[in-house]
Amino acid sequence: MTEVACELCPRGCVIPEGGAGDCRVRVNIDGRLRASTYGRPSAIHIDPMEKKPLYHFHPGSPVFSIATAGCNLHCLNCQNWQLSQRGGEEMEKVYRADPDQVVALAREQGCESIAYTYSDPIVFYEYVEDTGRLAHEGGLNNVFVTAGYINREPLRRLCRVLDASNTDLKAFDDRFYREVNAGSLEPVLDALVTFREEGVWLEVTNLVIPTLNDDLVMIRRMARWIRDELGEGTPLHFSRFHPQYRMRNLPPTSGETLDRARQEALDAGLQYVYVGNVLGHEGNNTYCPVDGTLLIGRIGFHITENNLTGDGRCPSCGHPVPGVWQ
């Protein structure tokens, strides 16, 4: 009987033969660790880039999005728990799509990018890496939508094939991570810094949950950390919570709470602060931080107007807006 020690994420699972990591999908068979969902996605969709959400990366473009079963966090409010909180052998629907087939399908469907998303793609790392390499060879971008609970070295290597990430920063509070997500804060902060250091376009999402992480003092500390460590031009998305899975006891986040959070982050010096999951909110749009010009108007995931110049500047004052626009 040979145990294996997984080095991918901070859990560092030591897995006996016949067992799986905490993520449920990395399985020790005969003393070798298997990535059991490699090439076996359980979700395949075409989404707009804004759904990830990425607002400063190829706006309005369709993204070929895939996910497999499994996750290395266990959020009480998970919105994809039927996918993320199951192992591959518990899934009713499993597709067969090797990396070359994913790339071919994405191209066939007219997508410029492939997103690894829905569950946490950290747990299907090898699938992302191989698909990402082929996608680059085929001229496609790779988008990584994650909670960032990964060790630094594996992430650094993966960044070679990644172009953009939306990373969840679930709260600026280690206790919250332990109690709500079964994780911890520090590795996530490390991951955010690593994305920035490796030149991957980065946007951050914070799901605001009433009474649990809506404290304005904490939000201010989080915004200042983002400003100082990631840069004032890093887009931050405050997303509205809806009760689901094991957190049905709390109400949806109010518009006032989201407004206050957004204002706090703007006051802290962040230039692009958005409000998500609220249709038609002013915070869906991109404004020039210098003169307030409406740069990109959005309703939901749809772009209503795009006034940026071809090289991503404000048409009025010429201020360069950080992002990947072409």
Partner: protein, 74 residues
Amino acid sequence: MKHRLHHWHRGDLAFVGLIAVTLVAIWGVLGVEDDTRPGQSWRRIDLERFQSYLQEGRLSDHEASWYHRKQETP
């Protein structure tokens, strides 16, 4: 009453012992449930089902990266 306060009886010791055992048990359960500690978490799976999915090709035996073999146990 004064007599009862100043002298331990066998029943008192048993009661204190029971409290201590309960506290240790609670601490043990809470400690085990903290699955954020490195190396502490793995999961049993339905291995029979997993193997059959593997044979049917519904799952993959692709070797993972980022792990090392730890020890041979008899």
